[in-house]
Subunit: 317 residues, 2 copies
């Protein structure tokens, strides 16, 4: 893997240590009983800004030269990467610009601004986003930080599974949600080095199963309209993440859309933690039996907990 | 305090150690910033059966003589004590009977049965409950375990603050929700022994503020109709808990009903953990500034996470 080595993950670990939270690992006897295995949940929903994205963004920002720092960073994101990059930049004392679709949720725009980033709005299309991002890049001279295809970002995401394996020891199987593939790629590079026999499975929602289809076709499929409740997993694989998955992933499991919210609810009710639909995609195969976990030691990377609670509190005065 | 000493809490600790979970202590930088203190949350929402009640029930069951064990235990409860006692009895291999109001939520009835208890229904009145409980007691010959006034239960609840203090060290202030007063009493006995200078504050919803009024009146007020969203805090103080509070508590803070759900939502969104409305009652005074936390080290006992999620998932297929 020339793009990225385990040493890059180790370097990321040192780089993000002063900033990122070492998130807890939880267990749930009900889920163990349901799947017949012993499952350890690495809870990145407790990470700063509410998702694993803070690891990659912090590693990218921390990797900049002093000349680059002066120019700042920019990105496009309507979701967790926006907040993660904003806070990472703030903690390093450098400017950040984030391009967000003009129909982004006001809550996310406010959160991104709250972390000190400047927000530029774009039309909610690929073309509009590219145009506005290009303009922001020209105007600010900032360094672009891609949400999942930047090797510094991928190395940062790999630190979550390092911590998990350090805490629980040997694992037979690791389940990771896959959207753009940054978290899965980082997990593959780290876990396959630390535990050469581990099976790493990407979990993808049926309504955005481009990773499954891309690996089957042997080429990256990017032209599709995602229709999934798992809003963090709508993006296609990047060029780099596709190459890493092609080389290292054991399997992509496609999760029916109808299993995602019930799995999320199960985790809320039984584990008493808030996880977002994207995270539930990596739990669903344990509850449905779609991956064999019986008698196995399983790790799940719980990617984040940024969920819109408005409907839950609609009756609130 | 003749009812209960710190030694009883220590004995409870050993007794429940093989069964209860040592729950995590979490922090939240947003809440620290909001109140100006440093707050440690002892997360009993992660306790088995989803609340601190498992500690007291397990200590009560574990304290039985072998002759008493053969007869089993019984209680009345529509809430967390029912499930806690059911599981505690199951883990000790003894029978449990729980009297529940016939309008109890089917989810809670199922959970109680799921832990192996027999459920007897009663009319949803004080008299009906007493009648059915008396009949169950006669028929089974079991040992009655009161949800909050049994000294074995109170001693068990005190173990949560022991663990908290052991983990975080010195504290200036501890906030605890108060309904029947079992958790607050146990906390008082344990914390005032371990940290003689600590201030322990009970937090009570405005719609069921009998502890506040009872302490003010110098006598236990039991005749009132609770109207509070905090369903775990509707019960009046018991005779024993009233005596312990009268001797040891520093203050009862009354929380306006309108602050409870927003505080609960704040915890869900910011800490990514599910807490029930009763737990939010001990967080609200930090957010409203009703207790001065600035510059102080604060502990909060997060009592439980058993919340009805139906409304949150109404749109679910």
């Amino acid at each position: 893997m020339s793009l990225l080595s385990f040493e890059d993950v180790l370097a990321a670990r040192d780089r993000i240590a002063p900033f990122a939270r070492r998130t807890p690992v939880l267990t749930c006897s009900t889920i163990d009983a349901a799947c017949g295995g012993r499952v350890a949940f690495k809870c990145e929903n407790f990470q700063r800004t509410g998702s694993f994205k803070f690891r990659g963004a912090t590693n990218a920002v921390g990797s900049l030269s002093s000349e680059e720092r002066a120019r700042g960073v920019y990105a496009h994101s309507s979701g967790n990467h926006a907040q993660a990059l904003a806070l990472a930049a703030k903690l390093h004392g450098i400017p950040a610009h984030v391009v967000m679709p003009e129909d982004s949720s006001p809550v996310k725009v406010e959160a991104t601004r709250g972390y000190g980033a400047r927000v530029a709005f774009c039309p909610p299309t690929d073309e509009g986003r590219r145009e506005v991002a290009a303009r922001v890049g020209e105007e600010t001279g900032g360094v672009f930080v891609h949400p999942h295809d930047d090797p510094r970002v991928i190395a940062g995401q790999g630190t979550a599974s390092c911590e998990l394996i350090e805490e629980v020891g040997d694992l037979d199987l690791i389940l990771v949600p896959v959207g753009g593939g940054g978290l899965l790629s980082g997990t593959l590079v780290a876990a396959k080095h630390l535990l050469p026999g581990v099976r790493v499975v990407g979990c993808e929602p049926a309504g955005a199963n481009d990773a499954f289809r891309s690996l089957e076709a042997g080429r990256r499929i990017t032209e599709f309209v995602p229709v999934t409740i798992a809003d963090g997993l709508r993006t296609p694989l990047g060029e780099n993440t596709f190459e890493i998955l092609r080389a290292l992933v054991d399997e992509i499991v496609v999760v029916p859309e109808g299993e995602i919210l019930p799995s999320m609810r199960f985790v809320w009710e039984r584990m008493k933690i808030l996880v977002e639909p994207s995270s539930a995609v990596a739990v669903a195969p344990l509850l449905s039996g779609r991956v064999g976990a019986s008698g196995r030691r399983v790790g799940v990377i719980v990617s984040g907990g940024n969920v819109d609670l408005r409907s839950a509190f609609e009756g609130e005065s």
